[in-house]
């Protein structure tokens, strides 16, 4: 169990990116998605597990995800997978975040007199 949740102010757009990345090659249901995020980020990114569903519903509404109902161990599950529009959105989000991460890294490495940062988008 995570000791604390990640500051929500730094999480804007991150859940979307992680979810699209996770679902890029395989379909998952909510519980699996949360476990996968925790495992693959070494629990650095931790949010209330239930808040993943509004993000999933929003992405599905936008056409970035599609869902289907399946049964596991006698229980009904909703499996999500990425659509073509979702793949394009993932590519855009990834490019934005890579640029942003590089800029922040550059800023931190440069210390107090760091170089000016170019806008990333």
């Amino acid at each position: 169990m995570p000791a604390r949740e990640t500051n929500p102010n730094f999480m804007n757009g991150v859940p979307e990116l992680l979810i699209l990345r996770l679902l890029e090659h395989e379909e998952m249901y909510g519980y699996e998605i949360v476990q996968a995020i925790r495992d693959r980020t070494d629990a650095v990114i931790a949010v209330g597990e239930g808040v993943v569903y509004p993000v999933l519903h929003g992405l599905e509404r936008d056409g970035a995800l599609k869902s289907r109902r399946g049964t596991v161990n006698g229980r009904s599950r909703i499996y999500y997978s990425v659509t073509r529009a979702g793949s394009r959105r993932l590519a855009d989000l990834s490019a934005t975040w890579k640029g942003l991460a590089a800029a922040i890294h550059k800023m931190l490495a440069g210390g107090q007199d760091g170089e000016a940062i170019q806008r990333t988008s």
């Binding site: 169990m1 209330g48 569903y53 993000v55 519903h57 929003g58 509404r61 009904s76 599950r77």
Partner: protein, 235 residues
């Protein structure tokens, strides 16, 4: 847990989230919670400890609610544009119901009374329990009941989506106004070709105020009873 989910449902509906998204969200949260409890129990916790740990992991009520309400695209049309749904929408639905009633009347007129100038006031319409009379009576009762059926439908939508009572009352008043002032005329000779012409008029000023009040009372009654019983169950 059921109590917390009920509270979450109420808060989401009142915030304007569409009922289908609320229902799906709660179903997924419930499944997720069951998985978390099972995981915690596998880790050696007692049932009670597993449940409280699972609830903590699922997220605080405030966070679960905010995460959903921040997704503006999941809001219902009743929350986004109540004036359109309960204003224009209610009138359009009632107009559609009247259109169906008129089309049905025109069809019966062509089939059963091909020579008559109007389908109204015909006394030679066959035996009272005959097929012809039953068809005409069914159409008449649909025409009379249309405002009540549409009003009840609107009230059901409003109750289901926890819409503010003022919007619903406005919509029901419009339905009652349109329904109580509806006037239908039919004449075969009004247009050339003998196909027949059916015309409806609405909203004539100063007409049938008592009818409007009665219609409003009938369409609003189930909603008022629902509100009253809900308030009693919450208190």
């Amino acid at each position: 847990m059921a109590k917390q989910f009920n509270e979450l449902r109420e808060r989401l509906l009142r915030a304007g989230v569409a009922p289908r998204h609320v229902a799906r969200y709660l179903r997924e949260l419930s499944d997720h919670l069951a998985d978390l409890i099972a995981e915690e129990e596998r880790g050696g916790r007692s049932r009670a400890d597993a449940e409280s740990a699972a609830m903590r992991r699922l997220g605080a009520m405030e966070d679960l609610c905010r995460a959903m309400t921040e997704q503006r695209r999941l809001r219902s049309w009743s929350a986004r544009a109540p004036w359109a749904v309960f204003g224009g929408g209610s009138l359009l639905v009632l107009a559609a119901a009247y259109f169906v009633a008129c089309a049905y009347l025109w069809f019966l007129w062509q089939v059963f009374l091909p020579g008559a100038d109007t389908p109204f006031g015909q006394r030679n319409a066959g035996p009272i329990y005959g097929w012809q009379n039953i068809c005409f009576q069914a159409g008449k009762y649909f025409y009379i009941a249309a405002p009540v059926l549409v009003g009840w439908g609107m009230a059901w939508v409003g109750a289901r989506q926890r819409v503010r009572a003022v919007w619903l009352a406005g919509g029901l008043a419009l339905i009652a106004w349109m329904g109580s002032t509806a006037h239908i005329q039919a004449s075969r000779t009004a247009v050339p070709g003998g196909l027949g012409h059916i015309r409806m008029d609405f909203f004539a000023p100063g007409q049938n105020l008592a009818g409007m009040l009665v219609t409003f009372a009938i369409v609003a009654m189930p909603y008022v009873i629902w509100r009253w019983r809900r308030a009693e169950s919450l208190s």
